[in-house]
């Protein structure tokens, strides 16, 4: 990187910079005991797409719940013990149909409903996805393995404010008779972001 300053020392490695900032926090007594382990556990285990999947499975099983989820996502997820962080004040649930496909992005940074979807995947934060999905959605989805016919309308949702979006995937026909936990196990992070679909003919072998 070119820079204006005249410091001739090399830029410290990002590992050393992260360690330096940690030392600043620790020297000032700002880091609680076990904090790093607890945070990592929360980010890797508690912020999980299994949470969003529970809401999807409930909506597939209970039409009245689905109506509430589509009307006011935040209060509907709270009914089943889920929540958003305090600064995410509004949740809009986007229903996929045979004719409409929804997909989410954050072009300005990388916002997501991470308590429901899990921490955003690396590809979601990459410049390629952020730049291209709003303008070339059909091509980008095809490149990612989802080939939608021209008859399906694509709606891209750009997360630019405190509203969060998740996709309610279409329930696959092969899921008849499954219990709610079994239904939840079919629902992936990718399907709730909207880069995959769960029903035939779009369902992928890599998904449950």
């Amino acid at each position: 990187m070119k820079s204006e300053n005249t410091d001739s020392r090399p830029v410290a490695s990002v590992q050393d910079r992260a360690a330096a900032l940690s030392q600043v926090f620790e020297a000032r007594g700002l880091v609680p005991d076990q904090y790093y382990d607890d945070f990592r556990h929360q980010a890797e285990e508690e912020w999980s797409p299994a949470n969003g999947a529970r809401a999807v499975a409930r909506a597939w099983s209970d039409p009245e719940y689905k109506a509430r989820l589509l009307k006011n996502g935040k209060s509907a997820i709270e009914e089943i013990g889920l929540s958003l962080p305090i600064q995410q004040r509004h949740l809009v649930v986007l229903e996929n149909t045979p004719e409409v496909h929804n997909v989410i992005v954050c072009t300005l940074c990388s916002c997501t409903a991470f308590t429901l979807l899990g921490v955003a995947p690396h590809w979601y934060k990459d410049f390629e996805y952020r730049a291209r999905i709003v303008r070339q959605a059909r091509t980008v989805l095809r490149e990612m393995g989802l080939d939608l016919p021209e008859s399906v309308e694509i709606r891209v949702w750009d997360t630019t404010a405190d509203t969060r979006y998740i996709v309610l995937p279409l329930r696959p026909a092969h899921s008849q008779g499954l219990s709610e936990p079994e239904l939840a196990s079919l629902v992936t992070k990718e399907s709730m972001i909207g880069v995959t679909r769960l029903e035939a003919p779009y369902r992928r072998g890599t998904e449950a």
């Binding site: 410290a12 360690a19 940690s22 945070f39 509004h90 303008r135 630019t160 404010a161």
Partner: protein
Amino acid sequence: MDGMHDLGGKEGFGPIVFEFGGPVYHEAWEARAHALASLARKLKLFNIDEYRHAIERMEPRHYMSSLYYERVLTSCASLCVEKGICTADELQELARGQFPLARPISPGRVNVPCGGNYALDARVRIKNEFVSGHVRLPAYVRGKVGTIVGISPVVPFPDAAAHGLQGSPEPTYDISFDSEHLWPDASEAGKVCLAVFHSYIDEAV
């Protein structure tokens, strides 16, 4: 600000490197950077809007050559220096090398409390305005006309909050645009929907 972060619709980027699942962190320092930024917010050293804006203020070549968690780290470190938690010299000494930080902040702006709301299904035009401080309007909808498809509760005004100013909470509107209106003759057909703050709307049309 018209920064490098405003990527929606930019051309020249190649294929997405996609994988199912995938690890939350590839390396330990990424988890550390994420944890520190989250801790700083819990301690109210800075707010979410200041945090986002400090990423946007990174020198453009640094922004473009950084992975996500390096941007997280740079924002957190920059704000710690700006808020007096530590000095840039201390960070460089501890890191044993240069520690690039965000560029200085420009003045922010407050909003005026909005009187009245726009209605669902209204057609509205977005202001064609240029804001050198923090703003949550992607350049690709400046001056464009779309249809309101959703309305949020009132939320803090980011253009003020990112600069430590006291704005008035206001609603955001989910507005649906035809992509062929956003990039005439240079876009695939489809809809692009995004949440637009009340203050960013010019008028009903």
